[in-house]
């Protein structure tokens, strides 16, 4: 729609259109450059020699490419352990969300039942509460259960934190499917679980992928849960790992930025994969693109 309206106008005022396009490019490029600066600066710092990092004068392009910082994060710091722990927890969280989420989302979108409104509101409410409010009692509970510093605690906590978004998002995807599909299967005698596994899940694969990506990123990026629930190298995750580059005498900016780049890689990969569904995911399905 938009494209037709605008191209037809474009033909009529092509010179004006050219000027407008140029202005658009210029303004957007400037904004984009400013927005990218912290990321570019992170990457540039990570490949600089120490003399350039500790410089009060602006040196834009590193004179010499140095990969020492990347070696240091594995040799002098525990980056390998942080990455391994984080991947394990993320894997667990995705798995639990993908098993528990679809049936719940299916129930929310296809049945009307008593208490449905309460559940819907409850899920939104759980997305609203400040994590700090939950993490303190959770700390007490997990320490009573002797589950601090365990993968189980981290996976359980993260699973619960991501589930409301997962359910809302999958619910929106299931609502898009024609009802006749699963209704007819149910009339043919398939159980609800059978319908979900054989009919619904294959049809909402993009939705599942988007949900998994969001659950992954939220877990990957999290600081507070790992900060409170773990304090040994066995379970510390990468966000907490970054804080270990803050040493007594100052911040080891070279290794820190290298670790930061490593932490940033999955973000880039997943933005390109799930970009199309991000709007829906981030608004719990309220805004569709």
């Amino acid at each position: 729609m938009t494209s037709q309206a605008q191209t037809s106008r474009g033909f009529r005022f092509s010179r004006r259109r050219l000027a407008e396009d140029t202005a658009t490019y210029v303004v957007l490029s400037v904004v984009l450059l400013i927005m990218m600066t912290p990321i570019l600066w992170l990457i540039l710092t990570s490949i600089r020699p120490l003399v350039e990092i500790a410089s009060t004068r602006l040196i834009l392009i590193p004179r010499r490419l140095v990969l020492d910082n990347y070696l240091a994060v594995f040799r002098d710091y525990e980056m390998a352990a942080y990455l391994q722990n984080t991947l394990l927890v993320c894997g667990g969280v995705i798995a639990t969300n993908m098993v528990i989420g679809p049936p719940a989302a299916y129930a929310m979108s296809r049945y009307s039942f008593r208490g449905e409104k309460a559940v819907l509101f409850g899920l939104v409410f759980m997305r609203m509460i400040p994590l700090v409010a939950v993490i303190l009692p959770l700390f007490i509970i997990f320490s009573t259960l002797r589950l601090l510093n365990s993968y189980a605690a981290l996976i359980i906590a993260h699973t619960a934190f991501k589930l409301p978004v997962t359910i809302w998002l999958l619910r929106a995807f299931i609502a898009d499917l024609p009802r006749e599909l699963d209704d007819s299967a149910r009339v043919d005698g398939a159980s609800p679980l059978g319908v979900i596994v054989r009919i619904v899940i294959p049809l909402i694969k993009p939705g599942l992928a988007a949900t998994a990506v969001l659950a992954f990123l939220a877990t990957w990026n999290d600081l507070l849960v790992t900060l409170v629930l773990s304090n040994t190298i066995k379970t510390e995750m990468v966000a907490l790992g970054l804080t270990k580059f803050v040493l007594e005498y100052g911040v080891a900016w070279g290794p820190l930025t290298a670790a930061g780049v490593l932490m940033f890689i999955p973000t880039v990969v997943f933005v390109f994969i799930a970009e199309r569904y991000l709007v829906r995911g981030l608004t719990m399905g309220a805004v569709k693109e």
Binding site: P137, I167, L223, W253, L282
Partner: protein
């Protein structure tokens, strides 16, 4: 689900009874289907989110300190202590001002960028994807990025300041500059988020009113003010609600960049609660503060909640 074994047992006795039991089981399954489909999800949410929240409410009425085993009931004592302490008032006011400033900056920049990105031009998809990166960067990493840029000795900001002949600044040490730094780090992640929502809203706008307005000779500004913004109301409400929620949950950036300092200059509610709990071991007070924060968030959202719902519904109609 646990049926087959039992069915077989009964099946030995009589075929007819097996059918009845099976059909009764099926009927039961169908009748309560939504409940058992939801059970695992609600179970884990209930155990890990709802129960702790209620537990926090209970703790908030106790004089609960980690080091002491006696935890006497103090009624609203913690709430009174929280509300009357000078630092809480400061932090609350600070968080509100912080949220207002961030929202103003984010929505202005995001709306302008979205309007530009909504135009048809080559390479638009690439701009869009890159704009998203800051939003999905880990807040911890965003905090370190900006802490490095605002570093008073070797930071990019001061390198640029020195380069153009200005005096270098103590960005994270001087209270107002520290506040500015925190706002910049936060809006850096907030702008892409609001922008992508605005863009989605713009792309869902119906075209005929705009074509009519162009025929009638309305200027671009008039079209924006009289058509675009009113039609975008539901999306703007959703974005606003989500940003309000998240701006009262900002923790990582503060933890990484300033630890709430200098003094209390950049302290926001979540970090204030965290400190009460884990530095001062005042679990009762921290729980009361948590509940006050939950309450404040709800109050701020009430005017928006109805809007959000009508927004979601009109979105359904569009789809």
């Amino acid at each position: 689900m646990a049926g087959p074994a039992e069915n077989r047992l009964i099946g030995i006795e009589s075929g007819r009874e097996r059918v009845t039991l099976r059909s009764r089981l099926d009927a039961w399954q169908t009748r309560y289907a939504p409940y058992w489909l939801l059970l695992p999800a609600l179970g884990i949410i209930g155990a890990v989110l709802l129960y702790p929240l209620v537990h926090a409410l209970y703790i908030s009425f106790l004089d609960y300190k980690l080091a002491r085993s006696a935890r006497p009931f103090v009624g609203l004592g913690n709430y009174i202590e929280a509300m009357t302490s000078a630092s809480f008032g400061t932090v609350l006011a600070q968080n509100i001002i912080f949220a207002v400033v961030c929202i103003l900056v984010e929505f202005t920049v995001a709306m302008s960028t979205a309007l530009l990105l909504n135009r048809q031009f080559r390479g638009r998809a690439i701009y869009r994807v890159f704009f998203l990166l800051p939003m999905l960067t880990a807040p911890v990493l965003a905090g370190f990025n900006w802490r490095w840029i605002f570093n008073d000795r070797f930071g990019l900001m001061n390198q640029i300041f020195i380069g153009v002949g200005l005096a270098p600044q103590a960005w994270l040490v001087e209270p107002n500059l520290a506040r500015l730094s925190i706002v910049i780090a936060t809006v850096w992640q907030g702008i892409p988020f609001v922008m992508i929502l605005m863009l989605a809203g713009l792309q869902a706008l119906p075209q005929p009113p705009f074509e009519a307005a162009i025929v009638d000779g309305a200027t671009a500004w008039q079209r924006l003010r009289l058509l675009t913004l009113p039609l975008m109301r539901p999306v703007i409400a959703v974005a606003l609600a989500l940003r309000i929620i998240d701006l009262f949950r900002v923790f990582d950036v503060i933890y990484i960049m300033t630890l709430g300092g200098p003094g209390h200059a950049t302290e926001l509610l979540p970090f204030y609660i965290y400190r009460a709990a884990f530095s001062q071991s005042q679990f009762g007070l921290a729980s009361a503060l948590s509940w006050i924060t939950v309450f404040i968030t709800i109050v701020l959202l009430i005017p928006l909640f109805l809007n959000e719902r009508s927004g979601a519904e009109s979105e359904k109609l569009n789809a």
